[in-house]
Symmetry: C2
Subunit: 167 residues, 2 copies
């Protein structure tokens, strides 16, 4: 084996610090937000994400597989969460018109209503915890810094690898 030991793979202190800060900020933020969502609408964060995706889409609908890829990491996990949402009448599931195997989830009026009821407090909390500390132009900078990493992680390596392994 003639590869160099692993000189490029070690993280320098700056990178390590950025990584830990990222994990910690997101963890604290998510923890706080989960409490708010639970209190305001009895929603877990995943359930909120599902409602938000559906609510923001043009049709209010998505296929289960797409939701699983976007929001959750396993299909059975999505089935579980979607079941909870459906039981509460916040989404509806119907077989997809174009593919009889597929299931299309659609947000209901009640779902939109709940989303609208939860969102203001949600935004307020995010604003308070994150953006009060961050000048507006820094929010843009943060988004720009994270976008390429997100795109890379969404597309390429570990998720598809895990998916392949699973079959």
């Amino acid at each position: 084996m003639s590869q160099p030991p692993q000189p490029s793979h070690s993280l320098d202190p700056v990178q390590l610090g950025a990584y830990f800060a990222l994990i910690e900020v997101a963890g604290l933020l998510r923890h706080a937000v989960e409490q708010q969502l639970r209190e305001a609408g009895d929603l877990s964060y995943v359930q909120f994400q599902l409602l938000a995706r559906l609510g923001h889409s043009q049709t209010g609908s998505h296929r289960m597989t797409d939701l699983a890829d976007d929001v959750v990491y396993s299909r059975s996990g999505l089935t579980y969460q979607a079941g909870l949402l459906e039981r509460r009448g916040l989404i509806a599931r119907t077989t997809s018109p174009d593919d009889e195997r597929g299931v299309t989830a659609t947000i209901t009026d009640a779902g939109r209503e709940l989303l609208g009821r939860v969102m203001p407090g949600h935004a307020e909390l995010i604003d308070e915890l994150l953006f009060q500390q961050l000048p507006r132009e820094d929010a843009q900078a943060l988004a720009d810094l994270l976008a390429p990493a997100r795109d890379h992680m969404r597309s390429t390596p570990p998720r598809s690898a895990a998916r392949r392994r699973r079959r």
Copy 2:
């Protein structure tokens, strides 16, 4: 009630995008890292964090309460995780010398050894997923953007509030 509606609390699209990107990047990153840690050392992320805190400290020790505040969100959660680590001989718990109520956790040689064994693959993964997409100076910028938010969330609002509520 004469407060203004909530004009300053709504997030603009840039902020909303930054927030979602942050949550998503951290979530994907953490998910990938959790698999690596599980495979490389049969560690959960929290367990890794505990070992890392202890390993990076000068003495190799910390009080349980400090660890709970840093890494985990409830004391019983820490007791559980510390119990798992102790059972595997990766940490040791002793009553604190200065305060007989306290418990001091210390990383063992086996714990250091495992940390050392897990760390290269960990760094490699972070590098691949995050920093290959991020020029070095951007890593610094990211750390600088996140630091004030981290400090703010660590200190003030929801954790201490929750802690007070708990009593």
